[in-house]
């Protein structure tokens, strides 16, 4: 069995990047995710795997370094927190428009503006619905533990290259700062030049005489060509929605009341379910692991089975709109949230649940 190491979620991202053969990390420090680059700088992977680690002069710069690295077929990533991610959104839109793979980690803090440095989930709308301009989707993964942070880097790159699409790991201050034990898997070496050609035949790696040149761009001045491209993206997104939805369920089998929560909130809701079950109330939890594609189908199925649903989020109510869309009016869907970096306790959610369901 692999050794289990105690580490922060942010440290797990960094260690996983090195161990999964990532070619480059470009970032700019911001609380609560600064440990990602700190750990990379301490580990000095450029001396072992040859991975590049670079502190850019700004988030705008780091996302454009990602754009460049990804154009060459390299496994490149960055991380930041909410205000920094806002600065990156232009670049993420360009990357989506150029159909390039990359992994972006967002360790959310409270907003809007510079907001607070404490944990939050208030960038659901921003990341899940796009963030930058244009008709595009990020593939969005929501980790709920340090182990998830470790595992999702590799999973994220698999998806990013499979679909030539940006992947965002949408974490929060709790998941980034909390230490838990992490099991590390076999090391994956970085791709060789030949492997890059195979994994990314579209990459700008130098034109041989045997093929046409590869062009990476997000610019098209011809309306018909752009529309054709938009429809090609739409087809790709449909394949992703069909194949990549991931969620987990806790005690939903016979549940009369279902909570929907992601990331740190899903951990807290597990305790809520335990508490309600101890009182004889049949509660359960659905945790979306991919926020886009969203588990519409499973929520629709549960909506037919239960009396009511409640979306629990560290924001003013963002994912709840997708839950309501999925439930389609089949059952009432309530919401409870905290903001500004404050965290709800399981007891607090139990109280709000009873109020919503008239059980108090």
């Amino acid at each position: 069995m692999a050794e289990k190491i105690l580490m922060k979620g942010n440290e797990a991202i960094a260690i996983s990047a090195i161990r999964n053969g990532v070619d480059g990390y470009f970032g700019y420090p911001i609380t609560p995710q600064s440990e990602v680059m700190e750990t990379l700088m301490k580990e000095k992977p450029w001396e072992t795997t040859g991975m590049v680690v670079l502190q850019a002069e700004s988030e705008t710069s780091s996302i454009n370094m990602i754009y460049g690295g990804a154009s060459c077929g390299k496994k490149v990533m960055t991380s930041s927190s909410s205000p920094g991610i806002s600065l990156m959104c232009e670049g993420i839109s360009y990357i989506a428009g150029a159909e390039l793979p990359c992994v972006v980690v967002d360790v959310m803090r409270g907003g809007p503006g510079l907001g607070t440095i404490q944990p939050s989930q208030s960038d659901y709308n921003q990341i899940v619905k796009g963030g930058g301009h244009g008709d595009y989707h990020n593939i969005v993964l929501a980790p709920a533990s340090a182990q998830d942070m470790y595992d999702f880097v590799d999973w994220g790159f698999d998806l990013a290259f499979k679909y030539r699409n940006p992947v965002v790991i949408l974490a929060d201050g709790i998941i980034g700062q909390m230490m838990e034990k992490v099991e590390m898997h076999e090391m994956k070496p970085r791709r060789t030049a030949e492997e890059i050609l195979k994994a990314a035949p579209w990459a700008t790696t130098g034109k041989p005489s045997t093929r046409e040149r590869n062009i990476i761009t997000s610019l098209s001045l011809d309306a018909d060509i752009q529309e054709k491209f938009n429809r090609k993206l739409k087809n790709k997104y449909e394949v992703i929605e069909e194949n990549e939805v991931k969620f987990s369920e806790y005690m939903t089998e016979d549940a009369e009341y279902v909570f929907v929560a992601f990331g740190c909130s899903s951990r807290i809701c597990e305790a809520v379910v335990d508490e309600l079950r101890a009182e004889g109330i049949r509660a359960g939890l659905l945790r979306p692991i991919t926020l886009w594609p969203f588990p519409f189908g499973e929520i629709a199925r549960l909506a037919k089975q239960c009396r009511s649903m409640m979306s629990i989020e560290l924001n003013l109510g963002q994912m709840v709109h997708d839950v309501r869309l999925a439930a389609g009016g089949t059952c009432p869907v309530g919401f409870y949230g905290r903001q500004g970096g404050n965290i709800y306790t399981p007891e607090e959610i139990v109280g709000e649940f009873k109020k919503f369901n008239g059980l108090a």
Binding site: T31, I174, Q177, T345
Partner: protein
Amino acid sequence: MKEEIIIAGFGGQGVLSMGKILAYSAIMQDMEVTWMPSYGPEMRGGTANVCVILSDKKIGSPIVTKYDTAIILNQQSMDKFEQTVKPGGWLVYDPSGITRHPSRTDINICRIDAIEGAARIGNSKVYNMVVLGGFLAVKPIVSLENVEKGLGKSIPARYSSLIPMNKAAIEDGMEHVEIVHRI
């Protein structure tokens, strides 16, 4: 078995590393752990605290508001956390710098003068290990053997020569803890 612990004091007292060593010790005996620190401005010269949860089972919420044990190392933390100890739980505190001693009668209370203990060992940096010893004397949730292994995991390899001194500090704390109130 599940133990929810808050460790709170000033930045620099070794609050976070004490939590980390405790967490690693629990991993050595195959338990699940979470370690959730306060982070941000309050760390810089102000109060620092960390919530450590040790459990035989997978840990759901890493955020709790009531604790089985509070380890309290300054007055601000006493004011903040005395009331958060579950009835029947333990409050472990260092009396130096405490002006308002704990007054609850529904919890167990013990004190550990860790400054004196660290002086006996001859190094002020082992202060937090004396406190940890005091805690383990009243709540032996991890064995001394696993704590020693946990120390080995937490301390960078180049400082491994310091493990015996840290172990001595833990033993000193175990020996000198003083029970103030027992329910």
